[in-house]
Structure formats: structure tokens, C-alpha cells
Symmetry: C2
């Protein structure tokens, strides 16, 4: 696959958000041509790709036409039109990850069944066709509160997830076909970004620990390495590898996990693409998740996943109460903090809790990194 | 200066080679718009800048027209038309580094006089108008062999430098106005990349040790940190800071130094821009030289210059005997080596010894990094 460097080879990426942007930046390091498809001419990848093609990732026609222009197709969002990918496969276009894996991942019901069939531990679940069916199950006594309702499709960044704790919550269920999961007695949430190449080689980045903003249900604080025992770390990596091998994914697979109070690891959700929980790899691992994804889909050997320095990653979110053309306040003060590295994605409009960027805070002392991260969160404001 | 992020602010960069490319990639991380001027529509920065403007960096008219389009102008090559920069300054365009520093640096004669006037140690020298004048000085006995002849202008990447050792060499002198320097009893060649911002804050990256390819007179092997005593390291940083302060440079200044056998440091040459001897900073320092340059010219506080992991940087040069559309051989094998990170610049044509890319080899054990670097040099071939 050396022919793809400084040549006419075209890597296609659906779509052009921040993950697409960071992927095209990694491709630039090797002078690989990137074609990105996005519906927004001002998307984050607009100026980092070789060419931006305007198109909707949910549209059969747009994805098909785009895929026909490129030599290898990959994604930065899993909600791509899979029927178009199937057609492209038939026409001989190379696609990583495989559409079959995407079809499973797009539907949280199929995802849960897949875990079950492949002996991958995950929270107990039932599938329901509608909110009414959930209420009926509760009424007849076969379902107990509390539980987590997850929309089978279209969930993203915390959307499509509802936690029902009280009887009143039953009136506010999502009106969709859903997975209903038992609540896990959560000790920690971990994520392992694993990568697999076509020869079946897999490599895991060390597990990271995620802390959530309860209001926005978004990761806001990500610690690398995770504060877990060596045994838990190893077990989380084995589990991630097992998921990647079962799904036969080529490229990055981010595996979000629950560690429950008994020390059991449960797969929560997976994403077959570079992921928010791997942003810190750009600065603090020997290989970034973006380069690793490229290595895998290009058929290169995978890169080292050693840690160079511990870090905290924080998402930079749109401040609640502001919407419109973005302004960043406090950047200068934050840049004075030793070891802070900013990534501003280039979204022109802010909205409450919109992911506008991230910062990786490096420090040999992880506790000091936490303090610095808190300072940045309090000081940097994304307003309109 | 926070207004330059995700705004209409335009950073102009003259020109679009590999240094321009890596600078625009750093600007992308902050969503800062970059306009690059280069005469080659396929230059390395073609797809990494927001806009590529075709123009010649030596042309008064081209540089003037380009500078008028941007809000802040910087350079990746020092041989830019300085008269145009002077005119732009008068018109109120912000320029970093200052044209006055560029004027001194463009002429190695003025550079040497500047060192002398500012008590900056450098090898003893004389200025000559022509090769004949050098021969006359030798004939009359006021100049002794061996010596180093350096063309006052246009020197770059080892061109414009001639070492005269024998009487026969006197027939092969460069036919230009020159600096003639005494040969230094060289122990090591070091480089310190220093950065200075408008408030006068300076920060040095730790000194690196350079080893040259004698045939091409190009750095081919760069070790970070340099294998020198703490005292020499500190002295080299103080010297680099003193040069940056004397020249009142804003942005990166790379200071190449000789360490002679008596342990004395002598300034060799300087470059007021990101530099080949700072490439490793992308992966192995807390802040890259490209981000540091942006921090300085934008007026942000400077970033940390801590080392994350030791490294060897090697240039990837066009193989002798090949010229034409480039091919890379052996990339896959080299990517299997732990800790190797490639940067392929995107030059479409190779030539003997042309800088086509670089690789940074990271390893906590610098001796093992050296072995890996040798393997990469022997395995990777840039051919046509």
C-alpha cells in the first residue's frame, strides 16, 4: 500500500466533522489525498481535506456518488447510509469498516443481540417496539424501575438515552423502538480504543476513564491512564480486542465499558471510527488514533500504543445560554498553563453543549493535570 | 488576540514548502485561516492552507500584493523580498519576524558583523568581494588554509558553502562576495530553537545535536536531547536567547552552533523561522516549534518546552541517481519499527538529496533510537 503516498490514490471520508478533520490532518502527514463528503461547506474538514464534496451522509444517492469517486472509503460517523455502502461494495469499492459491522452498530438492539451471541458481557436487556410496550411491561410487573431506555437508532452524544427512575418518568419515555437495560451499579466508565488491521493484528490504547457532565450527558473529563488496577486494565483490553475480532472491524473501534461495583466489565457501546475518548492520543501516545486508523485501513503494521505522558482531556462545549457565531473567551489565560494543548474544531456557530473543541492537558503528575483541567474548564468560555 | 480563532482573521505565510505545511497544520488546530503564497500550485502546503496564492517570494510585486491581503504576515523562508516587506510595514501590515532581522540574516556578511557588534561569539572571519580577492589574500600571506568560504547571499541547505583545504581548492572557490571563516576545531554541532514573543518572553527548546551527511552537507541525524553536559546545555540556551534578544526577533529563531574542542560555543548561522532542527518537537516536546511560532506571533504566552520522550530525527532525502515523479520504497517495513513517525511532505518530484520528508524515532533509550534510525535510513528509499 505504499503507492497511496504522494500519488493519485484517493481516500474518501464520510463526513467532515472534527473526527474527519483530525483524520485528514493525519493523512496530510503522509501526503495522502483525502476527499471528504459533508453537507456543510464550512464544516471542520473544509480546509484540511484535498477536496470537499457537498453531500448528505444519510442519502443513498450522495453516498453512492461519492464512493464511486474514491479508491478507499472510510467514515467518521456511523449513521451513514449503509445501503449505499452495500452497493459500493458490490461495485468493488474498498470500504473500512465493513458495512455489516455498521449495520449492527447503527441499531442498538442488534448491537445487544450481537454481544449476547458472541459471549461479550453487557448489561441485561429487553427490546421493545414502542414506549407503550415498555409501560405495558411495567404495568404487568415484568419490568422494574429504575432502567435505562435507549432508542435503537439515531442515538448520538447522549441523545436517545433516557433514564427512568420514577413512575412519573414513564410518561416521558422516548417514543421509539428501544433497548431497555438494567441499571448497572457503576464504579467507573472506561473506554478502550482498539485497532485491527486486515491481517488481524490488533492493538489497544491503554484504557481511559471517562467522567460525564450529568446535565449534557457528554464526556467532559477523560483520564489517561485510567485509575484502575493492572488486572482491570488488562481485562478491559482483552474485552475490547474480543469485540473487534468478533465484529471483524478493520480500523479503530472505540469500546465504551462499565466497570461495576463487583469489578465486572460490561460493554456499553461501540463506535467503529476514531472517537472522543481517543483525542488525547494525538499528543500523549506514540501513535494517534487517527494515524492508527489510517495504518489499519491502508494495511500498514499498527503503531505503538505506549503512553508518552499522562493526560486529562476535556471537551470544550458551547456555554449554555448562547447560540450563534462563536467567540472564545479566556484562551490566552489558558494557554499560559503549562502543558495545555488546544484543538479548536472550526465550527462557526455555537450552541449549548455543542462540542466546539477539546484540550489535552499533559502533566507527569495526573493530579496536577486534573487541577489544570478544572482551571481551563472554569476559565475558557465558548459564547456567541 | 483571541479574535483570530474561528474568525475572518488571515495569517499570511511566505512560502509553501514543508515548513509552511507544518505551520498551516498547526494553525488548523486552532482554526486560524492561513493564506500561503508559493509559485508551485502543487507545493506541500497546497491542501493544508485555507487558500494558496500563486506568487514568487523573491518578487517585490508578488510579496506586496500578497501582504496586502492578510492581517499578519510570517515566513517559512528567509530569502523573501525584504523591500516589499518594508513597504508593507509602512502600510500598516503586521510582520513577524521584523524585516530588519531578515535583512541581516539574508547576508552572511551582515550576520557576522552583527554577532561581532553584539558580543555574540562566532568563528573569526573576513569579508571578501570576490574569489580573486580571496586568492590575493592567500598569495600575500594574510589568509591561511584551511578555511570555510560562505557566499554572503543565497546560501541554503548546504549550498553556498565551500571548504578550502588545499591550494588546488583555491581554483574552485565560489565566484561570489563571501565571508571567509577560520575552521573551527569542532567537537559537536548543536542547534537551539528559541522563541520570543512581543512581550519579550523567550523560551528555548533543549539543545539538539546534529550529525551531517558529508556528501550532501545536510543534517541527516538529529539527537534530542544532545549528548552534552548540563553546563553546556544551559550555556547553549543562554546564547540562543541572547541572539534572539539582540535581533529582537518575534517568533522562532533557530540558532546553529559549533561546540569546539575547548568547550567554547560559537554561533554558526541562524534562521528566523521554524527549522529542520526542530521537527522532532511535533511529537516529542510538549509544544511543537510550529505551535510555538504561532503563539509568539499571535501574542499568546509561550508553551512548555519539556521533552516527552527522547528522539532521533532523520531527514528523508531523495536517493542519488534518481530524479522524477517520486516513489517511496520500504515504508511498510519501517512502519513496523516501534516509535517511528513519518512526515512525507508531498513534493511530487524527487532529486538527489532533496528533502522529501522526515521521520522522528521515539524511544526512551536513545541508543536504541539510533539503531532504529539507521535501519530506517537503510530501508527506506526515495526513488523515481
Amino acid at each position: 500500500m505504499e503507492q497511496l503516498v504522494s500519488s493519485d490514490f484517493k481516500l474518501g471520508v464520510v463526513a467532515g466533522g472534527q473526527l474527519g478533520k483530525m483524520l485528514t490532518l493525519a493523512a496530510s502527514n503522509w501526503d495522502v489525498k483525502t476527499f471528504v463528503m459533508d453537507s456543510d461547506p464550512n464544516c471542520p474538514s473544509a480546509h484540511t481535506s484535498s477536496e470537499l464534496v457537498i453531500g448528505d451522509f444519510r442519502s443513498f444517492d450522495d453516498v453512492l456518488a461519492f464512493g464511486r469517486k474514491v479508491d478507499l472509503l472510510t467514515i467518521e460517523i456511523e449513521h451513514v447510509n449503509v445501503d449505499a455502502l452495500d452497493q459500493l461494495l458490490k461495485e468493488g469499492v474498498c470500504i473500512s469498516p465493513h458495512p455489516e459491522a455498521l449495520r449492527i452498530i447503527q441499531d442498538k438492539g442488534l448491537q445487544k443481540q450481537f454481544y449476547q451471541e458472541n459471549d461479550l458481557p453487557s448489561a441485561a436487556f429487553r427490546l421493545f417496539e414502542s414506549a407503550d410496550a415498555i409501560r405495558a411491561a411495567y404495568a404487568e410487573g415484568s419490568l422494574e424501575l429504575p432502567f435505562v431506555q435507549k432508542s435503537r437508532t439515531e442515538g448520538y452524544d447522549g441523545r436517545g438515552v433516557f433514564v427512568a427512575k420514577t413512575q412519573e418518568d414513564l410518561d416521558r419515555l422516548l417514543p421509539t423502538a428501544s433497548v431497555v437495560e438494567a441499571m448497572v451499579n457503576l464504579s467507573k466508565e472506561l473506554a478502550v480504543v482498539v485497532c485491527r488491521n486486515p491481517s488481524g493484528e490488533t492493538k489497544c490504547f491503554p484504557p481511559v476513564e471517562m467522567q460525564f457532565n450529568p446535565e449534557a450527558n457528554l464526556v467532559e473529563f477523560l483520564m489517561c491512564p485510567a485509575d484502575v488496577s493492572e488486572a482491570i486494565a488488562k481485562a478491559s483490553e482483552s474485552l475490547a480486542e474480543k469485540v473487534a475480532e468478533s465484529m471483524k472491524v478493520v480500523g479503530i473501534l472505540a469500546v465504551e465499558m462499565f466497570l461495576d461495583e463487583e469489578g465486572t466489565l460490561l460493554v456499553n457501546e461501540v463506535a467503529p471510527r476514531p472517537h472522543n475518548s481517543g483525542h488525547h492520543t494525538i499528543e500523549t501516545l506514540y501513535t494517534s488514533q487517527y494515524e492508527q486508523h489510517l495504518r489499519a485501513i491502508f494495511g500498514f503494521p499498527l503503531g505503538s500504543t505506549r503512553i508518552k505522558v499522562p493526560s486529562i482531556m476535556i471537551n470544550i462545549l458551547g456555554e449554555p445560554g448562547y447560540a450563534g457565531p462563536v467567540k472564545y473567551q479566556g484562551l490566552t489565560e489558558c494557554m499560559a498553563v503549562e502543558g495545555v494543548k488546544f484543538h479548536i474544531y472550526g465550527k462557526k456557530e455555537t450552541r449549548p453543549f455543542r462540542k466546539m473543541g477539546h484540550a489535552t492537558i499533559m502533566d507527569p503528575d495526573i493530579h496536577r493535570a486534573v487541577e489544570k483541567a478544572r482551571y481551563v474548564q472554569q476559565t475558557l468560555k465558548v459564547i456567541a
